[in-house]
C-alpha cells in the first residue's frame, strides 16, 4: 500500500502545484519539497525489508485482457534508483528555488519537475513491463515539456522536439520489443519475464525483441548514434539538466538494461550490441567533451561518455560488471548532479558558461570552486573520490574482457575513454577555477547564497565519503541492487582505494598522465579538432526531418489533389473491379427463367430511350437541349413502369419528372447555358471506357438476375397479408404505409431535410459575392417583356381546383388503387406551382397563406405520432389499425391509421417541394427587390385595362 502512495505522491504534488500555479514562491517550493521528502521517507520505511532481499509488491488488475496490471515492485535495484531519483530530486528543488529568476513564478516549473519525477519513479517501481512502458513514455513527454520550458527560445523548442522525436521514437520501438518479450514469456509481469530468461533467449523472436528494446534504451540513454539530442536538451534551465542528465532521464535506459539483464543478457548478440555501442559512445562523448566551450555542453558530452561506460559494463554480461555498473551509476549521479549545479552557479554568477571567458574563479568564489573541483576530480576519476573507485573497477572489468579475438580491444578503448574524461575534467578544473584570473566574464562573480551551493556541496561531501569509506557506505545498497539486477546473489563488493599494482591502476595512471598532457596541449589539440570539423548532428537531424516532411507533403498533395473526378473515377472503378472479382470467386451459372418476348412497341420505346440517352450525352454542353431530351428518358421510364405493371411507380415517376425539370430550368436560368469544353480527349476517352465498363456490368447483372427464378421473396407474405391484415388492396401502398412504414418515415424525413437545407442554402444567397452576381446578372438572350401571359394565367386558374381534386382523389384511393400520399402531395404542389408560373411568385405567394416549415414539421410529426400512437393501444410501434364503420346515410366506409400516416407523408412532400421550388424560384427577385410587392396576375388583363381606359 505504501508503494502505491509512493508512486502517486509526485503526481499529487504536481497537481497541488498546478492548483497553486500563481502561489508564493517558497510555499510552492515547500509543496514540492514536502512531496519529494515524504516519498523519500516512505521509501526509507520500505527499505530495510527490501535490503534484506525481500521484494515488496503491489498489484491490481487494470486491463486483464491485455495482461496490463497496475503492479509495482520494489527490489534492491528499484530501491537504489528510486532513492537517487528522490534524493537528488529534493536537492534539485532546493537548488531551483534559488536558481530560477526571482521575477518568474516557478509553480508550473516545479509541477513539471514533479510530474517528471513521478514518471521516473514509475519506471523504477513498475512490476509490469507494459506499465513501465507507460511511465517510460511519460518521461519522454514530461521531459519534452521541461526542455521546452524556455520555449520562447528557438533552441528550447528545437531541443525539446528533438528529444521527443528521438526518445519518443525509441519508445515506440520499445513498445514493440516489450510486447514481443511478453509474448515470449507469456506474461508482461516483470517477475515472470525475469524468471523465464532461458526461454526468452531461446526464442526465435529474441533477436527482434532485443534489438527493439535496445533501441529504446539507447535512444533514452543517448547512446551513439542517438546521442545528439542530449546536448541540445541543455537548452533547458540548469536544474532540469542537473536532474534529467545526471540521475534520471538518461539513466532510465541504463536502468532498463539492468532491469532486464537476467532476461536478455548473456548472449553473443547482447554482448556485441551493448558493449560495442557503449564503448563507441564512451569514447566519442569524452572526445567531444574535451573540445566544447560551454560548461553545460562539456558536462552533457561527459554524461554521454559515462552512459557509454555504463552501457558497456552491462554489456559484459558478468555479475561483477553489473555490480560495477550499478556502483558507477550511483557515483556518476552524485558527481554529475553536483557539477551541473556548479556550472549553473557559475553561469548565474559570472553571467556566462563559456570556458574561454572564464578562469581563475577560485579566488572569487572559493566555495563554488571547491565544490566544482572536487566533483570534477571525481568525474575524472582522481583518488580519493567515489568516481575513482568505480572507474578503477570499470577498467579492471574491461581489462578482463575480450572483443571477439581481440583481448586488447575493450581495455584499450576503455582506457581511451578514461583518458579523455580525465582530460576534460582537468579542463573543467583548470580552465574555470584555477589558472590566471580573467576579467572577460560579464558579471562580477562571487559565491552564491547558501541555498544555491548547499545542495551541490552536500553531493560533493557524499562523493568524498564514498571515496573514503566505500564499503561501509554503499555495500548495504549496492549488493541487494546487484542481486536484484542479476537475479543471483551478488559477488563480494570490496571497493578499495588501493588494490596493489593491478592493470586497472596502471591504466588509471596512464589516463591521468594522458589527461594532463591533453590539458597542457589543449590549444593545439583544439586547433586540430576544429580543422577536422566533423558533421554537426543537429543539422543532419533537421535536414532529415525537413526532407521527411517535404516528402509527405509531396505524397499527400499528389494523392489528395481534391479532384472530384478522381474521387468518382476510383469509386466506379473499385465497384466494377470488386463486382467482377466476386463473380470470379463466387461462381456463376445462367438462370433458367424463360424470358418475355418483346413486342415492337417495346422495342420502339427502347429505341426512344437509347436515343434520348445518346442525345443527352452528345448535347451535353447545350444545357437547355439536354433538359428537353432528358424528359424523353423520363417518359420512356414511366411507360416501362406502366407496361411492366407498376402503376404506382409510373405515377410517381411522372410527377417527380416534371418537378425535376422545373428545378433544373430554374437553376439553369442563372447558370451558364453553353459553357466551354474543358476536359481533354484522353480524359473523355477514359471516362467513356469507365462508363462502358460500369454500364456493361450493371446491365449484365440485371440480366443475370432477371433471367433466374425468384428465390421465394418475402413479399409473398405481404401479398397475402395486404388485404387481410393491412386493410388495403394496393400491396405497394400497404407496404409503404404499413409493412415498411418505417422506411417511408425515413424517406419523408429525407425529403424534409433536403428542403430545409435548400432553404438554408438559398437564404443567404442574396448577400455577399453571390448577391452581387445576382444583381449584376444579365440575360444572355433577349427576353420578351411579357411575364404573365394571359391565356396561361386563366387556364392555370381553372386547372388549380381540378388538379387539387385529382390530387385528393389520388390520395384517398391510394390504399386500394395506385396512388397515395406521396403522389397526391406532388400533384397538389404541381397545381400550385402552375399558379406561381402563371401569375408570378409574389402574387401567388401572397394568396397562399401557408408557411412550408410548419407543414414539413407537422408532416413528420404526424407520421411519427401515428407510429408512436400504436403504443397507446399496447401494439408495437408503427403498427397500423383499420376498421370499417357505418354511418346513417353515408354507409360503410373504411378508416385506417395508415391513412393518417399517409397524410403526414403528403404534408411533408407538399411542404418540402413547395419550400424548395418557391425558394429557388425567386432568389433573383430577392436580390433585386427590397420590399415585397404584389404583382399583377397577368400582364394583359383586358377587363382592368378597360377600367384603366375609362
Amino acid at each position: 500500500m505504501l508503494l502505491v502512495l509512493l508512486a502517486f505522491l509526485p503526481f499529487f504534488g504536481a497537481a497541488c502545484l498546478l492548483a497553486q500555479r500563481n502561489g508564493e514562491r517558497n510555499w510552492q517550493t515547500g509543496i514540492a519539497l514536502t512531496s519529494t521528502l515524504t516519498a523519500l521517507a516512505l521509501l526509507l520505511m520500505l527499505a530495510p525489508t527490501v535490503l534484506d532481499g525481500a521484494v515488496s509488491v503491489f498489484r491490481v488488475a487494470w486491463v486483464p485482457s491485455l495482461g496490463l496490471d497496475f503492479s509495482l515492485r520494489l527490489d534492491g535495484l528499484a530501491l537504489l534508483f528510486a532513492g537517487l531519483i528522490l534524493g537528488i530530486g529534493a536537492l534539485i528543488i532546493v537548488y531551483a528555488r534559488f536558481y530560477m529568476p526571482a521575477d518568474e513564478p516557478i509553480g508550473y516549473f516545479l509541477a513539471l519537475l514533479l510530474l517528471f519525477q513521478g514518471a521516473m519513479l514509475g519506471i523504477a517501481l513498475s512490476g509490469n513491463v507494459l506499465l513501465l512502458l507507460i511511465f517510460w513514455e511519460l518521461t519522454s513527454l514530461s521531459s519534452f515539456l521541461l526542455i521546452g520550458y524556455s520555449n520562447h527560445k528557438a533552441e528550447g523548442r528545437q531541443g525539446a522536439r528533438m528529444a521527443l522525436a528521438i526518445t519518443g521514437g525509441g519508445g515506440v520501438a520499445l513498445i514493440g520489443g516489450l510486447l514481443l518479450l511478453g509474448q515470449i514469456a507469456g506474461s508482461y509481469e516483470l517477475a515472470d519475464i525475469l524468471a523465464s530468461g532461458d526461454a526468452i533467449r531461446a526464442s526465435e523472436l529474441y533477436p527482434v525483441a532485443l534489438v527493439l528494446i535496445l533501441l529504446g534504451c539507447f535512444t533514452k540513454s543517448a547512446q551513439f548514434p542517438f546521442h545528439f539530442w542530449l546536448p541540445h536538451a541543455m537548452a533547458a534551465p540548469t536544474p532540469v539538466s542537473a536532474y534529467l542528465h545526471s540521475a534520471t532521464m538518461v539513466k532510465a535506459g541504463v536502468f532498463l538494461l539492468a532491469r532486464l539483464w537476467p532476461a536478455l543478457s548473456g548472449t553473443e548478440l547482447w554482448f556485441y550490441l551493448v558493449t560495442t555501442t557503449g564503448l563507441i559512445t564512451a569514447v566519442i562523448g569524452a572526445v567531444i567533451a574535451l573540445f566544447r566551450y560551454d560548461l553545460k555542453a562539456i558536462l552533457a558530452y561527459s554524461t554521454i561518455s559515462h552512459l557509454g561506460l555504463l552501457t558497456m559494463l552491462f554489456g559484459f554480461g558478468t555479475p561483477a560488471a553489473v555490480m560495477v555498473g550499478v556502483f558507477h551509476l550511483l557515483n556518476h549521479a552524485i558527481f554529475k548532479a553536483a557539477l551541473f549545479m556548479n556550472a549553473g552557479i557559475v553561469d548565474h554568477e559570472a553571467g556566462t558558461r563559456d570556458v574561454r571567458l572564464l578562469g581563475g574563479l577560485a579566488g572569487l568564489m572559493p566555495i563554488t570552486a571547491t565544490v566544482g573541483i572536487i566533483a570534477a576530480a571525481s568525474m575524472g576519476g582522481l583518488p580519493p573520490f567515489g568516481g575513482f573507485l568505480s572507474k578503477e573497477m570499470m577498467l579492471e572489468e574491461a581489462a578482463h574482457t575480450a572483443w571477439g579475438g581481440w583481448f586488447w580491444a575493450v581495455p584499450l578503448v576503455a582506457l581511451l575513454a578514461a583518458t579523455f574524461s580525465m582530460a576534460y575534467s582537468f579542463r573543467y578544473i583548470f580552465h574555470v577555477y584555477l589558472g590566471s584570473r580573467r576579467d572577460s566574464c560579464p558579471a562580477k562573480p562571487h559565491d552564491p547564497s547558501f541555498g544555491m551551493w548547499a545542495p551541490s556541496a552536500l553531493l560533493v561531501a557524499l562523493t568524498v565519503l564514498v571515496g573514503l569509506f566505500p564499503t561501509t557506505l554503499t555495500a548495504r545498497f549496492i549488493a541487494p541492487a546487484v542481486a536484484a539486477a542479476t537475479g543471483m546473489s551478488a559477488p563480494v563488493f570490496h571497493p578499495k582505494l588501493w588494490h596493489g599494482l593491478t592493470p586497472a591502476l596502471v591504466m588509471s595512471i596512464v589516463a591521468i598522465l594522458g589527461g594532463a598532457f591533453a590539458l597542457w596541449r589543449h590549444g593545439w589539440l583544439q586547433r586540430i579538432w576544429d580543422a577536422i570539423g566533423l558533421p554537426e548532428a543537429k543539422r543532419l537531424f533537421d535536414q532529415g526531418i525537413e526532407l521527411f516532411v517535404e516528402s509527405t507533403r509531396k505524397l499527400s498533395g499528389f494523392v489528395h489533389n481534391g479532384s472530384l473526378q478522381r474521387q468518382l473515377a476510383w469509386l466506379f472503378l473499385v465497384s466494377v473491379v470488386l463486382g467482377i472479382e466476386a463473380i470470379r470467386i463466387g461462381g456463376y451459372a445462367p438462370g433458367a427463367r424463360e424470358t418475355i418476348p418483346a413486342p415492337p412497341v417495346a422495342v420502339v420505346a427502347w429505341v426512344l430511350l437509347l436515343a434520348g440517352v445518346a442525345a443527352v450525352v452528345k448535347a451535353q454542353r447545350q444545357r437547355y437541349l439536354t433538359l428537353i431530351y432528358i424528359s424523353v428518358i423520363g417518359l420512356v421510364v414511366s411507360l416501362a413502369f406502366i407496361y411492366l405493371s407498376a402503376p404506382d411507380l409510373a405515377l410517381t415517376q411522372i410527377s417527380v419528372e416534371v418537378m425535376t425539370i422545373l428545378l433544373l430550368l430554374l437553376a439553369l436560368n442563372l447558370l451558364p447555358k453553353t459553357p466551354r469544353r474543358i476536359s481533354s480527349n484522353a480524359r473523355r476517352l477514359r471516362d467513356g471506357l469507365l462508363g462502358i465498363a460500369g454500364g456493361g456490368a450493371a446491365g449484365w447483372v440485371a440480366w443475370a438476375v432477371m433471367t433466374r427464378p425468384p428465390n421465394d421473396p418475402i413479399s409473398s407474405y405481404h401479398w397475402e397479408r395486404s388485404y387481410a391484415a393491412g386493410g388495403g388492396t394496393n400491396v405497394v401502398n400497404v407496404t409503404l404505409v404499413d409493412f415498411r412504414a418505417f422506411d417511408t418515415f425515413g424517406e419523408i424525413t429525407v425529403l424534409g431535410i433536403a428542403a430545409l437545407t435548400i432553404f438554408a442554402l438559398l437564404q443567404p444567397a442574396t448577400r455577399g459575392p453571390s448577391g452581387q452576381r445576382l444583381r449584376q446578372w444579365i440575360a444572355v438572350m433577349p427576353h420578351s417583356p411579357e411575364r404573365h401571359p394571359m391565356m396561361f394565367a386563366v387556364a392555370a386558374r381553372l386547372l388549380l381546383p381540378l388538379a387539387m381534386m385529382v390530387g385528393l382523389y389520388i390520395f384517398l384511393r391510394g390504399h386500394n388503387m395506385p396512388g397515395g400520399g406521396f403522389i397526391a402531395g406532388l400533384v397538389i404542389s404541381i397545381a400550385l406551382l402552375m399558379q406561381y408560373m402563371a401569375s408570378g411568385f409574389e402574387w401567388a405567394d401572397n394568396r397562399r397563406r401557408i408557411d412550408e416549415h410548419p407543414v414539413i414539421g407537422l408532416g413528420v410529426i404526424i407520421a411519427a405520432l401515428t407510429g408512436l400512437g400504436s403504443l397507446a393501444f399496447g401494439a408495437p410501434l408503427f403498427s397500423s389499425a383499420y376498421g370499417y364503420f357505418t354511418l346513417p346515410l353515408i354507409g360503410k366506409f373504411e378508416l385506417t391509421t395508415a391513412m393518417l400516416f399517409d397524410i403526414g407523408v403528403a404534408m411533408t412532400v407538399f411542404g418540402a417541394v413547395m419550400l424548395a421550388l418557391a425558394e429557388l424560384s425567386h432568389i433573383a427577385q430577392r436580390a433585386h427587390k427590397e420590399g415585397p410587392c404584389d404583382d399583377s396576375p397577368m400582364d394583359i388583363d383586358p377587363a382592368r385595362m378597360l377600367e384603366g381606359g375609362r
Partner: protein, 89 residues
C-alpha cells in the same frame, strides 16, 4: 376485330412517336423540339389508353391523366424559359 384494330392503332401511335422523335432531335428550332415533345406526350397518352383497352384494365388511366396535366406544365415551363429565362417570376 377489335384486337386487330387495337394493334393497328398501337402501330400507328408507335410510328407517330418515332416521327416525333425525329422532329425532337432535328429541330431545327427550340420551339419545334418543345412541340415535338408535347406531341410525343399526347401520343403516349393515346398509347396508354389503347394499352388499357388491350389489357382490359383501368388502373393505367390515372397515369394518362397525370401525364396530360404534367405534360402541359412541362411544355409551358420550356417555353417560358425561352421567353423569359425565369419560369417563375
Amino acid at each position: 376485330m377489335i384486337t386487330a384494330a387495337l394493334y393497328v392503332t398501337l402501330g400507328c401511335i408507335t410510328l407517330a412517336v418515332l416521327l416525333n422523335l425525329y422532329r425532337l432531335f432535328c429541330g431545327p428550332t427550340a420551339p419545334d423540339r418543345i412541340l415535338a415533345l408535347d406531341t410525343m406526350l399526347i401520343n403516349t397518352i393515346a398509347f396508354i389508353i389503347v394499352f388499357g383497352v388491350l389489357e382490359e384494365s383501368s388502373v393505367y388511366f390515372e397515369a394518362a391523366l397525370l401525364l396530360a396535366m404534367v405534360g402541359f406544365v412541362g411544355t409551358v415551363a420550356y417555353t417560358k424559359f425561352l421567353l423569359r429565362g425565369d419560369i417563375v417570376e
